[in-house]
Amino acid sequence: MELLKTERLKKYFGEVHAVDNVSLEIGQSEFISIVGPNGSGKTTLVNLISGALMPDTGVIYFEGKDITKLPAHKRVKLGIGRSFQIPMVYEFLSSLDNVLVSILSRDRYSSVFYRTVDRFGEARKEAFELLERFSIPLRLVAELPHGHRKLLDVAMALALQPKLVLLDEPTSGISLEERDQVMGTIADVLKEKKVAAVIVEHDMDIVAEYSDRILVMHEGKILKEGGKEILEDEEVRKVLIGE
């Protein structure tokens, strides 16, 4: 059975058809890239699947269960994690605590109020290892540069050990030299934990290298889908590059 399935998902903002009748399926540990010009509905689609937005019509199934009306935090508990285009992090906590919040939530310890956080050695160790893996320094987040915040956002999503993770432009704002390495680390973690991923990405080299399947979106619809060869498709090139 597919991990996630959407049926005729629709989200209009007034006259704008942000997501228009999108039906798609995502398999277990599949790596899917969504590409398309600005305003083609990529982020809206991610928002619908993660529960940040509710669709006008259409149905979303996760592991066969209808989750269309489920609030975001409950979808996370089922195994859908996400990161954000503009990193969403906890400014006045350390990078370690940022990741720790996810780990404690995943293990259902968040509501423990009678033991201090230092007593959760396992969780802290795991958070520390995750930071190391992504080379994020242990510091107050307000003092971290943009690239590290971006990675931290991804690390916070992966710390939840989701079955499906939605990454909205994980490498934007990261220097070209570091991009390959960062994406490599993300892909390694995904493979290791058998996490399915949907990434929104503008860097076509990354898309071509890592994707099992590519979805091209245009004006809220899926224009084409397939392997990396579709990036060479006439119509796709026209939409992406605007030739």
Partner: protein
């Protein structure tokens, strides 16, 4: 880390010795200790959850009036009954009020806390046969395990024990996964939701913690002072003072609100004794703090310690 322990220990010893310096100092310090707990409880919402409550006197009054009403109408004078009863009452009120308030944030949350606190204030005022109206209730002849507490000094030690216990408990709560989750919600509600956290549940939790600790300090305030009235324990001014203490001491620091409560209480007593317009002086000080030391006294101290 170790040197801080020495500071805490020294503070505890000093507080223990206060009654030897006379009744007035004991009275004043007792008040500061009670307000310190209330300010710390307010900061569970303000500093840790990012919610500004301008209605925390509601809980302070709830604790105080539970004590007052039980004495007035039921002749219950045992503190070991009065105190748990006021915990239960403030818990119930915090759940009910919290249920309404935590659905909103920022100015909407603040306005709701003011509105609901005003409602309780009005009730205490108008239900004269039950509450005594603006004459309030006299609280006297109370016993702890059969022993009548007569002197302010005995009461002071009860207050001191409550203060120390409250700090220790609140410290654990705020450093627990629950406390960390509150801070995460404060910094990014959206992110916290996508970490699988049910925001309302945690905000309500913070509200209850804040309400119960404020309620307990209100209950002891009634016992310590021996007299309560709507204006004193339920008024908007009381709520505002808790906020002022917290900001004065620094809401980014754990001990900030306590320091704020001490400075505020002593300063108020001193200024009131030499000048007429305490609130004018208080106003100038608060404006000065907000403009020049926005992190408050302890926020500034901690920043300097880190800097060196």
């Amino acid at each position: 880390m170790r040197d801080y322990r020495i500071v805490y220990l020294a503070a505890a010893v000093l507080l223990f010795l206060v009654p030897f310096t006379g009744e007035y100092a004991t009275y004043l310090t007792g008040l500061a200790l009670l307000f310190g707990v209330a300010a710390l409880a307010l900061n569970v919402l303000l500093g840790y959850t990012g919610l500004l409550s301008f209605g925390n006197a509601l809980f302070f009054g709830c604790g105080a009036y539970t004590v007052g009403l039980l004495i007035k109408h039921f002749d219950i004078t045992a503190i070991e009954i009065l105190f748990p009863a006021s915990i239960a009452a403030s818990f119930v009120v915090a759940v009910l009020v919290g249920f309404i308030c935590v659905r909103h944030t920022r100015i909407y949350f603040t306005m709701l806390t003011i509105a609901l606190a005003s409602l309780f204030y009005a009730l205490a005022h108008k239900l004269r046969p039950i509450t005594g109206g603006d004459d309030g209730i006299r609280v006297y002849e109370t016993y702890i395990f059969g022993h009548e507490i007569t002197s302010i000094i005995e009461f002071y030690y009860v207050v001191l024990i409550f203060f120390i216990a409250s700090i220790l408990i609140l410290r654990i709560i705020l450093k627990s996964p629950f406390g960390l989750t509150l801070q995460a919600i404060r910094d990014s509600e959206l992110r916290a939701r996508f970490a699988g956290i049910s925001i309302m549940k945690y905000r309500l939790g913070a509200f209850i913690v804040s309400g119960v600790f404020t309620g307990m300090s209100g209950a002891l305030y009634a016992l310590f002072l021996g007299q309560i009235s709507p204006d004193d324990v339920l008024g908007l001014t009381r709520s505002g003072e808790f906020v002022a203490m917290t900001i004065l001491g620094g809401f980014t620091s754990f001990v900030g609100p306590i320091v704020g409560a001490f400075v505020f209480t002593y300063l108020k007593a001193f200024v009131s004794s030499v000048a007429l317009y305490w609130y004018m002086v208080a106003g100038i000080i608060i404006v000065g703090i907000v403009l020049f030391v926005p992190m408050g006294i302890m926020g500034e101290v901690e920043r300097r310690i880190r800097g060196f």
